[in-house]
């Protein structure tokens, strides 16, 4: 995973997709696609090679957790780095996401520094 990686941002709020997109651009990522919910994200994942997923949790149609489970269950997608960005803060939810195979977790609201640090950790993990 490097700055040429294709990043998929999944969030039902266009504002947050734009905020995350702006932060990613500041970090040097230019190859960015967006989806409004888990179902649309799966369509993007099936139609093109995605290197890194940044997903909200609470979304209509398919939640971020359901998307994560589908990604991990699909052999061709299962190794895709997955960062959850969400307002969900219940410990049970965090534990459930970790069990489902999330690589990292950010609680909204977050600063550019926090996102940068989490992405650096994931870059190191996946090389």
């Amino acid at each position: 995973m490097d700055k040429t990686s294709k990043v998929l941002i999944v969030d039902d709020f266009s504002t947050m997709r734009k905020v995350v997109r702006n932060l990613l651009k500041q970090l040097g990522y230019e190859n960015i696609v967006e989806a409004e919910d888990g179902l649309m994200a799966l369509e993007e994942l099936q139609s093109q090679k995605i290197d890194f997923i940044i997903s909200d949790w609470n979304m209509p149609n398919m939640t971020g957790l359901e998307l994560l489970k589908q990604v991990r269950a699909d052999e061709s997608l299962s190794k895709t780095p997955f960062l959850m960005v969400t307002a969900e803060t219940l410990k049970e939810n965090v534990i459930e996401a970790v069990k489902a195979g999330v690589d990292s977790y950010i609680v909204k609201p977050f600063t550019a520094d926090v996102l940068s640090e989490k992405i650096s950790q994931i870059e190191k993990k996946y090389g």
Binding site: D12, F13, S14, T15, M16, K18, V19, N22, N58, P60, T86, A87, E88, T89, L90, K91, V107, K108, P109, F110, T111
Partner: protein, 156 residues
């Protein structure tokens, strides 16, 4: 409504506006609101359930929300449009999350629904429990906004 339910929403609002829009909002004195009329031009409202239940609303004057969203997106937005409605929903969602995180620290576990957004002069805020609610006013250099909290224990 107990004071311990209010402070997390006050702190959560300050935290979200500061972190996302780099604005230090100035809180005023909370007061009780008995009618349904919104204090702002655009409002996000979200239902919350768990060991207490009710709803929470964020209601912004046009000036305050235009500045907040312009700062969030790094571009100037001059009118209340779809981008602003979307941002108000997400700000409501984030403040709800920040407040729930603080309430969980004192043993109150809650989950939230998806927010809805209403706009227009003198529009209504209809709380899940009907009301009354506690309103926390905030000032910014670009205008005012309020956090409007109506949370109770069942039977409380």
């Amino acid at each position: 409504m107990e004071v311990q339910y209010i402070n997390p929403f006050l702190e959560g609002t300050l935290h979200v506006v500061k972190t996302m829009a780099f604005i230090d909002a100035r809180p005023g004195k909370p007061y009780i609101k008995k009618d349904n009329v919104a204090k702002g031009d655009i409002t996000g409202i979200i239902g919350i359930v768990g060991s207490i239940r009710g709803s929470f609303a964020l209601s912004f004057s046009e000036g305050s929300i235009l500045r907040i969203v312009s700062n969030m997106l790094g571009e100037e937005i001059a009118e209340l449009n779809g981008d602003i409605e979307d941002a108000v929903g997400e700000l409501t969602n984030m403040v709800s999350g920040a407040a729930r995180q603080r309430l969980e620290a004192i043993g109150i576990s809650l989950t939230a629904a998806l927010p809805t957004v209403v706009r227009g002069k003198d529009h209504s805020i209809v709380h899940v429990l009907g009301g009354p609610s506690i309103v926390i006013p905030f000032e910014t250099d670009s205008g005012t906004f309020v956090a409007d909290v109506c949370m109770r224990k069942d039977g409380g």
